[in-house]
Symmetry: C2
């Protein structure tokens, strides 16, 4: 693995999005972004080794006493890649236990490949400092993002969308040596799900690709049941070892007991405008589909949708989640036929998924993998998403703040851009810093895929969407150009300063096809 990259040490070239990006990353060459749908690899998927049942216990009992012993049985070595998932969000106890064990074993230079990391993983900074972990490839929310932004990590971080993570493993871009999969319910064979137990999180889709392609797979549970653990969201036939531990998660930090809709009048206005826009442009029609996040504004959009649907006497065919009690209530009131769920955000989501066959668990493979024979994202009529910044070409940023700090992951955001209509309801400014600017600090989504920006002071439609512009005409909605919105924000807050950044590259943002869309630089001390 390579060490820190600087502009000096790495050749930078301009990609199809006009961003200067590197061509080598952690010792491997990478492809610069070539445009939406332009890069088509002529290659085969990654091919894991053939296993033999002769090497596994015939009675299916793959139990090992401890995670540490299991790591040893997996042949853990310096420089390996170890993966984990983030279904336990900020209540995850597995990754910390994992690296405590790695540290005890004296292993160094691990590439940690989580589907995301959270503030609870601040514990791992000591292992980044002492060389146990070489670098992280995965979303770095909060303290780890700050750590990376300040140039402290040895290797270069790699940010991928949920679908991009699946793609990277499937395509052999990232070879996982050991996958450690925390499971709220599992059997000794390794069948596992997220539906029941003290650490119930709903589903385990983020770990699917790890289970399918990793050389060795360990399932860790605090709820070992007798075979068969049904349903098997993770299939024991892909698992090498199972480990029972005391506790894998903190329930109240895994799923929220109460998801709450925003009470902010500004945010409610954004939500209302978004819903009205979808109504007048005919997006809300019988049998339509939508995806909306779990943030306060997104939840409110869902509630406005609900009112409109009830008034019209129509229903949606499906909603893509992140599920929560609001979405579940729509399913239960038969306003949507199906929830196609990628992760559950609250207890109602978990309950509904366990009980209701129309609340379907999905995976980054079904929903987001761009290197499959299609995926679900494109079938969604409208996706309501967030962003930290948008520029006048509708390009958007979701990973860095305007000060350049890397504080968020990409999640499924990039993947959802393939929905038929993408709407970003955004406040015109946050803490007196404009959100619509000349150029985004970090490019995460190409403007050609972003259709509508809804702000409290007006709605801008991407000029590419002449159909939407036509339909919104005469609706009474406050339509403006994105430049007008930008100027309005600047009138109030002044022209924002650009983030003060060093030359050193601390992370890269991958596009859904594995190409490099942008780089993230170290913030100036």
């Amino acid at each position: 693995m390579g060490e820190k990259l600087t502009i000096m040490s790495s050749k930078l070239i301009k990609n199809a999005a006009d961003r200067m990006v590197l061509t080598g990353l952690n010792g491997k060459s990478v492809v610069p972004y070539k445009g939406v749908g332009k890069f088509k690899p002529e290659a085969q998927k990654y091919a894991p080794s053939i296993s033999s049942c002769a090497d596994y216990p015939t009675d299916g009992n793959k139990r090992v006493d401890s995670l540490k012993k299991a790591l040893v049985k997996c042949g853990i070595e310096d420089g390996m890649t170890i993966s984990s998932h983030h279904h336990f969000r900020n209540g995850d106890l597995v990754a910390n236990q994992l690296f405590d064990a790695v540290k005890e074993l004296g292993v160094k230079g691990i590439r940690w490949f989580p589907s995301a990391s959270f503030p609870c993983h601040e514990h791992l900074i000591r292992y980044l400092d002492d060389g146990t972990i070489h670098h992280i490839e995965g979303s770095m929310n909060g303290p780890l993002g700050k750590y990376v932004s300040e140039g402290n990590m040895k290797g270069t971080g790699v940010l991928r969308s949920h679908g991009g993570r699946y793609q990277a493993v499937q395509d052999g871009e990232v070879e996982i040596d050991i996958a450690v999969i925390g499971a709220p319910m599992a059997d000794p064979f390794g069948n596992a799900n997220g539906l029941e137990g003290g650490s119930a999180c709903g589903l385990l889709g983020f770990a699917l690709v790890d289970s399918e392609y990793a050389k060795r797979v360990i399932v860790v549970t605090d709820n070992m049941v007798e075979f068969p653990c049904v349903p098997w969201q993770i299939q024991g036939n892909n698992v090498d070892f199972t480990v029972e531990v005391e506790k894998i998660g903190i329930p109240e930090l895994i799923v929220s007991g109460t998801t709450k809709i925003t009470k902010s009048p500004d945010r409610l206005l954004l939500a209302e405008l978004t819903a009205k826009f979808c109504d007048v442009t005919g997006i809300i029609r019988d049998g339509f589909s939508f995806q909306s996040g779990a943030g306060g504004t997104s939840l409110a959009v869902g509630e406005f949708f609900k009112d409109i649907m009830k008034k019209k006497g129509i229903k949606a065919r499906f909603a893509r989640g992140g599920s929560n009690k609001y979405l579940v209530s729509m399913l239960e009131e038969e306003l949507v036929d199906y929830i196609l769920d990628g992760q559950t955000f609250d207890l109602d989501g978990v309950r509904s998924m366990a009980e209701n066959p129309n609340h379907v668990w999905t995976s980054p493979f079904t929903s987001y993998n761009y290197h499959g024979k299609g995926n679900f994202a494109g079938m969604v009529d409208v996706a309501i998403l967030g962003a930290t910044e948008v520029d006048v070409n509708f390009n958007a940023n979701v990973v860095t703040h305007s000060d350049g700090y890397l504080l968020h992951g990409i999640g499924g955001w990039q993947n959802c851009l393939f929905s038929k209509t993408v709407i970003l309801p955004l406040p015109l400014f946050r803490d007196r810093i404009p959100v619509i600017i000349d150029e985004v600090t970090t490019l995460c989504g190409p403007g050609e895929l972003i259709d509508v920006i809804v702000t409290e002071r007006g709605i801008a439609i991407n000029p590419l969407r002449t159909d939407l512009i036509e339909k919104a005409k005469g609706s009474g909605l406050p339509l403006k150009s994105i430049t007008e919105l930008k100027e309005e924000a600047e009138k109030i807050c002044g022209k924002p300063e650009k983030a003060s950044l060093c030359d050193e590259i601390v992370a890269v943002v991958k596009w859904v096809d594995g190409t490099v869309l942008d780089i993230v630089r170290k913030v100036s001390p």
Copy 2:
């Protein structure tokens, strides 16, 4: 592809089961059987090409007007391998439609790779004759088996177990160019299941590996529903094209309206002895598991199990099926916690699978694939299976009759031999031909994996199973040696003649690991 093989044209060598087998097959080299658990390939799984969503319709609509057009879009060419599944059993209309289309396109030399063929596929003999189909790899039940046995097929047939078929594709032994998957319910994206519609067959597990590894995948349905088709037993993300046709199956030939237990006093005696054996040896205990077929005798064994369990006040943890109304009644009466089902044999099976979350659909991957990290077969306490012949070393045959005719497939039979105890309840003779003989016509299962032969005139326990011999002592059961049973049969029927066979090899029997266990010769005209 190679042409007909004869002993002259192919080097034969003796494998670990003392059978003379060939080392080349249809133009490729093959590995002779090396013993149970002895062959461990040092290789990677087959790696399909990376696809890109850019090449598939964003709205998920992959419909094509006709199967013929879909085949053309798949780039059908002479000599390709085309696969299909046998969930519609003798009611299948898809394979015949498929090859009518292939014929119309003038394509020649296809390797047909069905999971099994049935008498309804007699229609295809014309295409074997005229060179449209070069040869069949898959079970050949009935007329096609006879056709092959008489030396009429151009290539050499290859018989694999359900698990062996998964293994062969996964390992790249068989590369499928085009998979044609008949689906009782599907959406335009290609998500599909077997649960609902006029051709409901329960599940589609036999087609799973085809969907995962084939270069091109076509889903054919007579019940196209709006996205999403839930559950997706076949995932649309693996599918290239979807086709709607008039009819894909004949319901009454797909699933039986009434599965019937044998009324033959002889068979009932076999069933009763089998159940008693399981009782006295402690196999039937609280939380045990069993697998029993859908034949009349097997069904009767299940009913005797039921009585014993009720009397003892115990229940089974799971039953592996082939499901049918008797097994379903055990699930519904809470005598088994789970049915882990591979194929449904009657309407009650289909209904239960659609309704009851404890009636779980499995696949050859979960249940049988020997080149996985374990499978379910070994976890089953007792498997009750059939055979056409057994020899004095407990070796058994399931594919040929004593006259040498190839009339049956292997099904999951070889895979089930890995259960903790394997019992074959068999009549001592059929049509006055002894079933227990000196040497089986065709070796399908090594004797070391077959534990008990139950006949109406006595029970023989494999000497390797000293534990069972010990437990059965003093039980009052009619225990005999297998030689005693053989001699008893010969006393009644006379010493059976060996099948009269030519030198020409018409098919081979693969073991679960892809090695060649035995060959099948042409019958003498």
